[in-house]
């Protein structure tokens, strides 16, 4: 062999060196492979198992929300389709084309997709949602031509829906994706980056009850995340959220909503002997269905920029001067403190003068000598300015205001409740750096100036009088029920939050005075319902002496004298000064009372009152 090695050709030594190099490199590689496959093989086996196992989250169904009748849900979940794109499954250079095609199919702009999938993430193996709430027909179209849409897929996704849309928007609230700030706060309570949570109303208040627990499915997948293999898929079933039953009566809610109509304002209807809120309406409102999904961003900014503040629940989140409705409180205080008896009269002339503060009587000629029942029925400013300043005095007046629940939150189970304000001398010194003067007391006595209350607080004031001095915490939640079985898990018991020891005689006289308002008093022309006796008080708050804008209040209860306390309801209506003045609050209350006690819808109420020729104002 050695003699066949040709001198002319390859130097033998070099062939040997080359051969040794080849062999050494082979051995080196084999050494590395030995360590990879034999020594560390188990590590890679585990890793390859883990790569293939992917757990997918099964979202828990959010609990449904029902009204007190527990029949048709006010908030439920619907399945919708979301279209997703996995950019790594699209061949290089074809992204633009696929995006354009998909955008055409979905009726959106290609830039909408490019914004969600920038070129820098084209290699990312992940489904990125590009549109939710896609109609079924579009999905069918996509499925039939799926070969033209590499990387595009769809998934079903539960979406919160509110069948009554705008009617209960403030009460129920709406849901949205968790924000990074919210996640920081809520992380330890079981929320994660995928959580969808309540952003206002009941949805926010009872979010943890509604959430439920996510399930998981663990499966073997290929690189594209597609399920492969016959092995059993391990499933940890999700636990649905609890269902909530509210105290709200959907029919009364709709009635109140319709009665208020498209006037900026609010209505509260509650049961005085338990604190159950039967209806809570605020206008302007919004459609919570529009706040989740594709249009959310646009709708949201639109609502945000609306100067009328549609997100504001005016029943609890904004306060107004109570105006003449405060005279109920003064009547109660004056009678309870025995400063005046029902038969005593005070001269109510055209003006009440205190230093340079002049209160004009709304009837230019004044009322002459009148008793307290007449004064409340006719809403005499001069009479109650005298009672407030001369009889009660600052301290007693303010203490009654506080005892009736003004200036503090009622503790209703809804987020964002405002306390309103009972001004005090210390408060005035702190804020305005000026001393309390008699004029301030006069202002409180006629419900003007700094005193401000929410519609719910005003309803509570009447509830105390109806309920013999006992105030229950107003609440919206009635029962919590199991999401699977519907079994009642918890029931909200009425909770007393304030007990005023008022003499029965006082209570009886105040109610009589309030009844006088609707029978011979200021509200008589508009309280026309024959089905229930109403006792209440109107209020007209001047918001500025320059303009002619007035808030219109009406707060009342009915029936006036009930044998069964369960029957009685309190209604508080506020119509904001921003509306054209039409003295709508008592008119709306009239419709609401008639609808509740005749068990009629708004349309039926209107028709019924018209038939009885008692609806002159509509």
């Amino acid at each position: 062999m050695s003699d066949s090695w040709n001198k002319n050709a390859i130097p033998r030594s070099r062939a040997i060196v080359f051969g040794s190099l080849v062999t050494m490199l082979f051995l080196g590689y084999l050494g590395h492979l030995f360590s990879l496959q034999v020594v560390d093989g188990y590590l890679y086996t585990v890793r390859s198992e883990n790569i293939k196992r992917r757990s997918a989250v099964i979202p828990a169904a959010r609990g449904e929300i029902f009204d007190r009748n527990y029949d048709v849900p006010l908030a439920t979940n619907a399945n919708s389709f979301a279209v997703e794109i996995n950019p790594a499954l699209i061949a290089r250079g074809e992204h633009d084309e696929i995006f354009t095609r998909t955008a055409d199919l979905l009726g959106i702009q290609p830039t909408d997709i490019q914004r969600r999938i920038p070129a820098s993430s084209y290699h990312v193996y992940q489904q990125i949602e590009i549109r939710s709430a896609v109609p079924f027909e579009t999905i069918v179209q996509l499925a039939e031509n799926i070969h033209d849409y590499p990387g595009v897929s769809w998934a079903t996704k539960p979406v919160r829906t509110y069948p009554d849309a705008e009617a209960s928007a403030h009460l129920l609230g709406y849901v949205g994706d968790i924000t990074p700030e919210e996640l920081q706060v809520l992380y330890n309570r079981g929320y994660n980056a995928r959580s969808v949570l309540g952003k206002s109303g009941i949805e926010q208040q009872y979010d943890l009850l509604l959430q439920g627990e996510e399930g998981r499915s663990i499966r073997t997948v290929d690189a594209r995340g597609r399920r492969v293999g016959e092995e059993d898929v391990e499933i940890i079933a999700p636990e649905p959220g609890h269902n909530l039953v509210l105290t709200v009566d959907r029919r009364i809610q709709q009635l109140a909503q319709a009665a208020l109509g498209d006037r900026i304002g609010s209505v509260v209807v509650l049961r005085p002997n338990s604190g159950e809120i039967l209806a809570m309406v605020s206008y302007p409102t919004f459609d919570p269905n529009q706040l989740y999904g594709n249009v959310a961003g646009r709708t949201f900014s639109q609502l945000r920029n609306d100067a009328r503040a549609p997100f504001l629940n005016r029943a609890i989140q904004s306060s107004y001067p109570p105006a003449s409705t405060i005279k109920i409180l003064l009547t109660t205080a004056a009678l309870e403190e025995e400063l005046i008896s029902v038969g005593d009269t005070i001269f109510a002339g055209p003006h009440y003068r205190l230093g340079n503060r002049i209160v004009n009587e709304w009837r230019p000629s004044g009322f002459g000598r009148i008793n307290i029942l007449q004064a409340l029925a006719n809403s005499s400013n001069v009479f109650f300015a005298t009672i407030g300043h001369d009889y009660l005095g600052t301290e007693r007046l303010l203490s009654y205001a506080s005892e009736f629940g003004f200036g503090i939150q009622s503790g209703v189970d809804l987020p964002g409740e405002r306390p309103g304000l009972v001004p005090t001398p210390e408060w005035k010194r702190r804020v305005f750096n000026s001393p309390w003067v008699g004029g301030d007391t006069v202002n409180v006595a006629i419900g003007q100036g700094f005193l401000s209350v929410t519609p719910l607080q005003l309803a509570n004031m009447v509830a105390i009088l109806v309920n013999d001095g006992v105030l229950y915490r107003p609440h919206v939640l009635k029962e919590v029920r199991d999401g699977h079985t519907g079994e009642v898990i918890a029931r909200v018991e009425p909770e007393i939050i304030q007990t005023l020891s008022l003499k029965p005689q006082t209570l009886q006289n105040v109610r009589r005075a309030m009844h006088g308002v609707t029978r011979g008093g200021t509200a008589e022309p508009v309280i026309t319902t024959p089905v229930v006796e109403i006792a209440g008080k109107t209020g007209t708050a001047e918001i500025s002496s320059e303009t002619d804008d007035w808030h219109s209040w009406f707060v009342a209860y009915g029936p006036y004298e009930a044998t069964d306390a369960d029957e009685q309801v309190v209604v508080a209506v506020l119509v904001d000064a921003a509306n054209e003045w039409e003295w709508w609050a008592p008119k709306a209350a009239n419709l609401i009372f008639h609808g509740i006690f005749a068990d009629m819808s708004f349309e039926e109420t209107v028709a019924d009152l018209r038939r009885r020729r008692r609806l002159w104002y509509m």
Binding site: I10, Y29, L30, L33, L36, V38, Y44
Partner: protein, 436 residues
Amino acid sequence: MRSRSIFGFDVYILTATLMLLTVGILFVYSSGLETTGDTLSHEYVRQTIWAVTGLVILVSISLIQYASLKPWIPYAYLLGLVLILMTLLFGRVVNGTRAWLGVGILGIQPSEFMKIATILAFAVYLERAGNSIRQIPYLAAGSLLFLFPMALILMQPDFGTASVFFPIYLGMCYMAGARVRHLMFIGLTALLVLVFTMLPAWEHYIHGSRIPAFEIFSNVRVKLLVLAGLVTVALVALVGFIMLKRRSFYWIMYSISILFLSLAASVGTRAVIRDYQIMRLIVFLNPYVDPRGAGWNVIQSVTAVGSGGIAGKGFLQGTQSHYHFLPEQSTDFIFSILAEEWGFAGTLLVFGLFLVILLRGLYIAGNAKDSFAGYMASGIVTMIFTHFIVNVGMAIGLMPVAGVPLFLVSYGGSSMWTALAGIGILMSIYQHRYRY
């Protein structure tokens, strides 16, 4: 004479080749298999056709007197260049590279065949040059034969294929007796160009913080200063060498020149090289810099190889591959499937078969009856060796990802025919070794 040569096939190489072809078809089949058991592609059918036709080519070439090829070699070389030029003009783009000529499903990659043409042409050159290859001008002039196709292939751009030419040049020159210090100079310069090109990216992705010394690569002024300094030192050394005739000055000049050249060249390469190529080099050093992107292939491939263990998961039982975690699994990453399904045992088999071909190829080179045949054989052995080292190295994370197929095993007609034609030439040299 002729009858003896017909039965004079080299049985070792032939057996190893047939076995590798079989393994290749098996794993191309495996790579096309869905987890459901459905075949996803019919690549294995085509692979079989190419293997069979390739074997016909092998046998035909082995029967030819290789000397009779000589007059055709310049034309083959020129034709190859023209074809590659045509790919640049009318070529089809596959995987971002304009390297294909053809219509419909039939396509060829001229750059694959160009390797053989270049080897043949350079063998002619080396034979003419004889001992002169020990002189720098001859060495340099010969490199032009490689630089033309490399430049054209880089324009496709196909970094992997182009890079294979370089070791072939070095290997053939070495076997032809060129001076080791010259070859080392070239090799070290090339290595340093690569390192210098990468260092700024390394600083950014892996080291994480700025290193002041790296101003050399990013700041042109600093770079010029350093280059000027190097030139000065080199000139001083040159003067010293001529005046004092001391060897040490020669080596100073030698290393300074390497530094100078690679620094200067890295300016050019950094302008030409693309971001994704830099990333491939970076993820070679640390695939977890971009685990979902550029590093994905390396991580998945090494996981597949490692999870194969000693005996493997069994033929068609690989999960990394059948769940499509491995991209390009019938071409670039065929070794990963093999290593996953047949384990270390399969690895040993494939290494053994290639070692047989390479060592036997070297034996044929050494026993060739003339230097032209010896150089050809050396070039073919180097080519097969380079492909093996780069492809397997890539699959096990020892080499950066470059689209270089594993000869005889990877799916692809052009590379299959190139390999079998090369082996056919080896056979021809073996068969005609005694003919004077």
